[in-house]
């Protein structure tokens, strides 16, 4: 027995030592890990998302009406049956749990989220929210993302000459255009495009451009589908470009104007470098750098910026899903979309924060930040 005991003791000693070492290592390394800027901001991002989602959970339930009331009102207006009869039918149609409290629903939802399960739609029982998002998300990313990139590139290209020739006619014209295009909301541009060239001038069939691609095509890497997708995206993309181009132009003009006054630009010109080289390598690159942060942050807002435009052009993306979920008070779908939008914004900010130092050698993010 003693031998056995000693054997046990002799073998457990290293285990205890090992466990104690692990604890020691953790206690010394955890603060270091936490002091890491990257880890800290990542944790803050997670907490931010959780806080937004919890707030969203409460707020959507504070909105007037709920999915049951919406359908009950429709039935009462159409059929004139009693409220209780309408309620029972809607409850059966939705298959809702009448006894679940808000707290039950919250913990159920949070538990599902930890398993990366966004749940099922309330108004379309059995349909997974993740499937709804997968159906609509790509089209928003494609259309708004394309619009954002085109407007960014055009804005940089047009903004530089505005700064170079500031005070000139070119500057006045482009500045007016920039202010005008920025001042008019994207949905107004969308309506104008539908009404003027579409209805008044009849340049195109409005109905033929609706949807994300033509009927009968199989989505995939084939020319017919790609061309059709481009064709259907053209009007929304054009709307996004025209609506945000001015912002990039004015930002680039402002940034370039600042760079033009820098010593290194004067030195480069004094050294007799070609104007094209100065513009491209000294002015352009440095002026565009601050816009990079703006671009990465804008990417986060990509998903939420097309709600009304998507409705106007019947180009359904995540904005439509958000709009529809709010309209019929589909809490689970709405929470899923808000989670997506929140995560996109938080992580794009995080990305901008972490990568800016890599792009600009003058700025280095240190652990002491």
């Amino acid at each position: 027995m003693l031998q056995d005991q000693s054997h046990i003791d002799s073998t457990s000693q290293p285990m205890e030592t090992s466990a104690a070492g692990l604890v020691d290592r953790l206690t010394t390394s955890l603060p270091k890990i936490y002091r890491s800027y990257t880890v800290r901001v990542f944790l803050q991002a997670i907490i931010t998302i959780w806080a937004v989602m919890s707030l969203t959970f409460v707020l959507v339930r504070l909105m007037p009406g709920n999915p049951v009331d919406v359908l009950i009102e429709q039935i009462l207006t159409a059929e004139g049956i009693s409220y209780q009869e309408a309620y029972d039918r809607v409850a059966a149609s939705f298959n809702i749990d009448k006894d679940a409290t808000e707290l039950d629903q919250y913990f159920q939802w949070m538990g599902d989220l930890l398993r990366l399960d966004l749940g099922t739609s309330i108004t379309s029982p059995g349909t997974k929210v993740i499937d709804e998002i997968a159906r609509f998300l790509p089209w928003t990313v494609f259309a708004v993302g394309t619009g954002l990139l085109i407007s960014f590139v055009l804005g940089i290209i047009a903004g530089m000459p505005m700064a170079y020739y500031r005070g000139s006619k070119l500057d006045h014209i482009l500045s007016f255009f920039s202010s005008f295009s920025t001042g008019v909301p994207n949905y107004i541009w969308g309506l104008l495009i539908i009404i003027v060239p579409g209805i008044a001038w009849r340049w195109f069939d409005i109905g033929a451009l609706r949807g994300t691609y033509d009927v009968g095509l199989t989505p995939g890497l084939n020319a017919a589908f790609i061309l059709s997708a481009l064709e259907h995206a053209a009007l929304p993309v054009f709307t996004y470009v025209i609506a945000i181009l001015g912002t990039w132009m004015l930002s680039m003009k402002s940034s370039t104007t600042g760079v033009l006054n820098e010593d290194y630009v004067n030195v480069a010109e004094a050294r007799g470098l070609k104007e094209r080289t100065v513009i491209r390598s000294y002015v352009g690159r440095n002026a565009a750098l601050p816009l990079f942060t703006q671009l990465t942050i804008s990417i986060g807002f990509v998903l939420s910026s097309g709600v009304v435009v998507e409705e106007i052009f019947v180009y359904w993306g995540i904005g439509h899903l958000l709009f529809q979920s709010i309209t019929v008070r589909d809490y689970t779908s709405l929470q899923g979309v808000v989670l997506l939008l929140t995560a996109a914004i938080v992580f794009s900010n995080l990305f901008a924060d972490l990568t800016y130092g890599l792009l600009d050698p003058r700025v280095r993010v240190s652990g002491e930040k």
Partner: protein, 578 residues
């Protein structure tokens, strides 16, 4: 730099050319009917029309899941569709015989099994039709008997206007439901199975079938189903169903890409359509906005005050400013539409009704008769010396009801009331009424239904005493006592409303309806303002249907009995060039 400009310019030009090139040239198919209804695309939208989220195309679902019969409102007679024979038997049960020789798009014949499946699923869902039914029996392959607790014209209507579903799709769940009762353990599980059931493809028993591959957010196509009901008498090969609400489909109508809509359109749009040669078809919808009052708020509980309000508001003006020619002032003020009043009330009764014509002097006399007077500011004060000052709420998102509220407020204030109009979010507004949290409000009177008793349930049931059911802490709605005394005696108007749709003796029903109409006319528990008429946009350059004098247009444009789907099912609707 130049190269970049060139590349971006090329991309933009390519996008522009794609956009502005002549797009989707007409394929020359002249036999496509172009109509519209909002729907959701998959995966949210699906082919289980028993469950929430199903792609149910409003009245156009008649083309896919045909009704058993259609009521011709002008005559009050049912016209058989899938049911070729129907009626009450000697035992008070309802018997229908399904037409022979038609099949669903999956090849299975249309038969009594489909009726059994449809109504057994209704039982699983707890639909109102089973309130009068005790059972359902398949007599033979084409005959079904509905065992009733008592004959009821309401039950008959619900049965006959039901859209038939295929037993080949829903039969399994329906059969299991038929073997169970709501108290069984598996009942809720079966209900969940039903709501989550997703048929792989739509199966049509009507003249057209949905093509799943054509479903986009823009539109979907329905293809001729030659073996389906009425499929052999159609004048179109395809139906294109555009997707969207009014603001989405309006440009398509203006562009002549869409030829008929049932969407309510604002008067300005109506005028634009008319200028483009588009016809506006108007049919009475048996309902509209009314002025509801909280009968717990003094002196709105006085009948003289409500009658004075009725006289002080020019309903013709109110209707026109709210909805143009489709806002038609209510004449008889019976709580049901003028059309139903004329159909159900005798000429003598109609003659004795008070039509509450616009008459400010008469209104003033009514108020003075109960001791009210005007103060120095010209405002009316009651017998306690209090100004007649009230808040009038309305659902702010409803443009026509908002206009009705603003106009009624202006007219009443001109008369000497002190009314403040306040818009409320449209989903919150009915909850406020259920919970009695209002003084005056704009809500709907009447119902889009030909059975008159049901019109009264809006005032006497929905907005009166539903607060507890609606989770509003026992609020009693407009607090109207349904036990009333009028020139015809003492009645409970809620009971009489329900009783008037029971039985099959139309004379007895008419007597009860007369009680309801006369008592409503005398007491005005809520004050109807105007009846909403449809303003369907119909482009006759593309669609050939009878002219506006035809009696079929009495079948108003929403829900069951729709005139357009009736004309399609009977093979009348045709392309304009045919």
């Amino acid at each position: 730099m130049f190269r970049r400009i060139l590349l971006v310019s090329a991309l933009l030009c390519a996008l522009g050319m794609l956009t502005f090139a002549p797009l989707q040239a007409d394929d020359g198919h002249s036999h496509t009917l172009s109509v519209a209804w909002p729907y959701q695309v998959p995966p949210t939208g699906h082919f289980n029309t028993f469950a929430s989220g199903g792609i149910a195309l409003g009245q156009y679902m008649d083309l896919h899941e045909p009704p058993l019969a259609v009521l011709m409102w002008a005559t009050g007679q049912y016209q058989g569709m899938v049911a070729e024979e129907f009626g009450w038997d000697d035992d008070g049960n309802y018997v229908i015989k399904v037409v022979d020789g038609y099949s669903w798009s999956d090849g299975s014949p249309i038969s009594a099994d489909d009726v059994m499946a449809t109504f057994n699923i209704f039982r699983l869902r707890g639909d109102a039709v089973w309130a009068n039914m005790t059972g359902i029996e398949k007599v033979d392959d084409h005959t079904v008997k509905f065992h009733m607790s008592a004959p009821s014209s309401l039950a008959e209507r619900i049965i006959l206007t039901t859209n038939l579903r295929p037993a080949s799709v829903f039969g399994d769940i329906a059969d299991r439901a038929a073997m169970m009762s709501p108290d069984d353990d598996g009942w809720n599980g079966l209900l969940q199975e039903l709501t989550e059931f997703r048929p792989e493809s739509p199966v049509s028993g009507g003249p057209y079938t949905i093509l799943p591959d054509t479903i986009t957010e823009a539109s979907l196509m329905l293809e001729l189903n030659p073996g389906g009901f009425a499929g052999d008498i159609q004048n179109y090969d395809m139906v294109q169903m555009w997707n969207g609400e009014t603001e989405v489909v309006t440009p398509l109508v203006a562009n002549a890409e869409l030829h008929y809509i049932t969407h309510g359109i604002p008067p300005t749009t109506e005028e634009d359509f008319a200028n483009r040669g588009i016809d506006i078809v108007r049919s009475g919808m048996n309902n509209g906005p009314g002025l509801y009052v909280n009968h717990d708020v003094y002196p709105l509980n006085l009948v003289e005050v409500r009658q004075a309000i009725a006289h002080a508001v020019d309903r013709v003006q109110n209707g026109f400013v709210s909805l143009g020619e489709s806002g038609v002032a209510v004449e008889y003020m019976t709580g049901m539409s003028d059309g139903l009043s004329e159909a159900w009330l005798s000429d003598d009764t109609l003659d004795m009704l008070n039509t509450y014509d616009y008459n400010p002097d008469g209104a003033a006399a009514l108020l003075e008769s109960v001791g009210f007077s005007r103060n120095d500011d010209g405002h009316w004060v009651d017998d306690n010396g209090d100004t007649l000052s009230f808040e009038l709420t309305f659902p702010q998102e409803y443009a026509d009801w908002s206009a009705a509220a603003e106009n009624a407020t202006a007219q009443l204030n001109d008369f000497g009331f002190d009314i403040t109009a306040r818009g409320v979010q449209f989903q919150q507004h009915p909850q406020d009424i259920y919970s009695s949290n209002f003084e005056m409000a704009i809500r709907n009177w009447g119902l889009g239904d030909p059975i008159p008793g049901r019109s009264y349930l809006q005032a006497y049931n929905r907005y009166n005493g539903q607060g507890e059911a609606a989770g509003e802490g026992g609020g009693a709605g407009m607090n109207f006592d349904n036990n009333i005394s009028f020139s015809g005696g003492d009645i409970n108007v809620f009971d009489v409303s329900n009783a008037s749709s029971q039985g099959t003796d139309s004379m007895a029903q008419a007597e009860l309806v007369t009680h309801l109409a006369v008592s409503y006319n005398e007491l005005l528990p809520a004050i109807p303002l105007w009846e909403r008429y449809t303003n369907n946009a119909l482009n006759r350059n593309f669609i050939n249907v009878p002219d506006s004098s035809d009696s079929v247009y009495a079948n108003f444009g929403g829900g069951a009995d729709n005139w357009m789907t009736t004309l399609i099912l009977t093979g009348v609707t045709a392309p304009a060039d045919m």
